[in-house]
Symmetry: C2
Subunit: 430 residues, 2 copies
């Protein structure tokens, strides 16, 4: 008998018919002898509907007291979901009970609309499990020390599920979603993309932050920190699929030290075409110059991704970084009107038509020449590399966006991700 | 400066536009120097939508754990309302904060879907008021000792508002609704019906239970028990109506001892055409016979209203009572198949086409001949009285339903309720 946490997304909970199917699936797991905790999202569209109502009456300035009410309103979608799922489970003949975050309680800080979980008291949930009940807990919600309702931000239900699994030392946390796992890259770009049977947390973090939006990134961080075995799998399989088959489906996100055998060098190719590149050219290369440039950008609430400063020539250097494409014009204006005069930079140039392509793999740590293999593959396709950024398990390049698909396909092939045997090898330690 | 509780119904909260108008009205009261607590209902239609979803997945047997989830789901409508109203007030430049029942807390027993309020801790609300905030509290909701969410049953928001007003010793509780007060009778039946400026709690209780469904009856009981001055008034006046005029509008429900001057003998005419009459004839007149008959009816979960047992002849008596018309056939079947054989009654007869008409008035206590004046008026119209039931401040008759309008109009006239001067006299002590 294991303690299992299931998380279901808004699409899986989208209609009462689908909620009945979720209940049947959960009941199957409970009848197989597992203690079950379930964390469902709001019915799809519901959170947007609620926030839409809120926006119609809210003041334009979003003070803490406004954000508090946003949370008060938005979190009701999850409350309805847990109640409906509990009813559907009871209709299946199971004993079930639902809780809001504050009833568990799931304690958070008071950062309304983006609260962080601080602690979870699992005594009440354990008592229910011991009494044979399925326990259903709202995703997304928490409560602060003053009993105000908080929410964890969009996609926060993944984090709730992982946090509950961590607090209860669950044997596995299964995230049911509308994809059937994590792929070597986006199958829409590379038809040969293959589902990974396992991926490490570190790789998943790099994949997620680079645009493979399968899981909320905070949930992966949480799982890594508290060592929660996390599985991403499809909620579109029939509910009565054999439970042993289901338990092995999807992608298991696991720990590096659990990877017993030889790991493929590169696990996946991530890409992102939402970025734009800007360069401040000919700035005096002196201490504080990076802060002088990026401080202004941060003050304007613009997120920066890749940052590169080249070596200087004649006491001058070029400083490049990427921002979200939506922030491109604002960033260019800021650099030209404020940063350029203040720093004495020669000029400011930019390009919104770029993309970032990354190879990700824990195996890169112990394999030399991975980056150069990447650069050679791109060179052979005639693709010019505009920026390079590396970390221990990732190498990213910024290239012209028109080459994105070509680059991704070439890299997918050269790192043998097309090869079923190579990937299967990496997966078999599961 | 007074402490004022406002309660707004689902229609007043029906759209974000209307919620903005509620916020403007509340802001007007707050700016006039009053401490304001507001209890809004769910947006109209929302509770039905939520319970509709619940019914689609719920098991047919409504155990306590099923009812618990019904409350979990249904109460979210009020949570959304308080958040929206708080946002709208903040958009008006007011400081405002919303609370769920459990956050106050409003403690109840654990009778899910029909919980009773046990206590209200007003410390948190008082602190907010002292800090200059408008406090918005969910109607309908409470929380039991185990931190389960409970609801007070349909229309429970009236009770919430009155309970909060009682706990905080509010100066007045204003119930904004879609009628502009309590009338001498239904204006659709008697065009001359007049709005009462005041009515006593006792009269209001009799009027409400007899079909003048302006307020949830439990809220009136609560107001009477805790001596909360209660005013029913229209939410359809413009929000910027002069506050002194608004404060005197509608109908004030007050205490008998506050009625300083001569009270009209009869305050109103109530009626109800939802009832049916059944009679068990020729039952042996012996101890326990009433229980033998009504026990079976109660076991079948059928509510009984008027009960009459005539004096016996030759050791036999006739036992009559009224039930809701929807329960008529079930009651007849029960009486014929179970009660008649068990009691040895001669026969069972019934009539679903009846109505009940009542005169209500605190003045009846000190005036003789009121009932006979009623009977004479009905007699002069040729209306046969089938049953009579009396209490201290009410006399009810059961008559053929086809005479209902005629009876109500005749009584309205004979007790001078058509007369503006008579009613104004009763009202001026306000």
């Amino acid at each position: 008998m294991a303690l299992i946490v299931h998380k279901y997304g808004g699409t899986s909970m989208g209609t009462t018919e689908r909620i009945r199917n979720v209940a049947k699936r959960v009941a199957k797991w409970a009848r197989a002898g597992h203690q079950m905790v379930v964390v469902p999202s709001a019915m799809s569209g519901e959170t947007n509907r609620l926030l839409g109502l809120a926006k119609e009456v809210a003041p334009s300035k979003h003070s803490a007291s406004v954000l508090r009410e946003m949370d008060m309103i938005a979190c009701t979608g999850e409350q309805v979901s847990v109640g409906l799922l509990s009813l559907a489970l009871q209709a299946e003949g199971m004993e079930a009970v639902s809780y809001n975050g504050w009833q568990v309680p799931i304690k958070t800080d008071s950062a309304f609309t983006k609260a962080r979980i601080q602690s979870i008291d699992d005594a009440r949930v354990r008592a229910d499990l011991a009494a044979g009940r399925v326990v259903i807990i709202t995703g997304f919600q928490g409560v602060d020390d003053d009993l105000n309702i908080t929410t964890l931000g969009r996609g926060g239900s993944d984090t709730s599920a992982v946090a509950v699994a961590a607090a209860m030392k669950a044997d596995e946390c299964l995230i049911y979603t509308d994809v059937d796992g994590v792929y070597t890259t986006d199958p829409r770009v590379v038809p040969e993309a293959r589902r990974l049977h396992t991926i490490t947390f570190e790789e998943m973090l790099e994949m997620a932050s680079l645009g493979s939006k399968v899981l909320q990134i905070r949930s992966v961080e949480f799982a890594g920190k508290y060592r929660v075995p996390l599985r991403v799998l499809s909620s579109f399989t029939p509910w009565d699929i054999d439970i042993n088959e289901e338990a092995k489906s999807g992608t298991l996100i696991t720990f590096e030290e659990d990877v017993k055998m030889e790991q493929a060098v590169v696990s996946g190719i991530a890409f992102n075409r939402d970025e734009a590149k800007v360069t401040v050219m000919g700035v005096p290369d002196k201490p504080g110059i990076a802060y002088q440039i990026l401080g202004e950008v941060a003050d304007a609430n613009i997120d920066v991704d890749v940052i590169i400063q080249n070596v200087s020539h004649d006491g001058k250097t070029d400083f490049s970084f990427t921002v979200h494409r939506n922030d491109y014009q604002r960033t260019m204006d800021l650099l030209k009107t404020k940063v350029q005069p203040a720093t004495g930079a020669a000029t400011v140039i930019g390009d919104p038509k770029i993309c970032k392509v990354s190879i990700v793999g824990i195996g890169m740590r112990s394999h030399v020449g991975v980056a150069s293999k990447m650069f050679r593959a791109l060179s052979e396709e005639g693709i010019n590399i505009q920026m390079i950024s590396t970390s221990e398990i990732k190498t990213s390049v910024v290239i012209d966006e028109k080459y994105m698909e070509l680059a991704v396909r070439a890299l997918h092939k050269v790192f043998e991700l097309d090869d079923p045997n190579a990937v299967t090898a990496a997966a078999e330690e599961e």
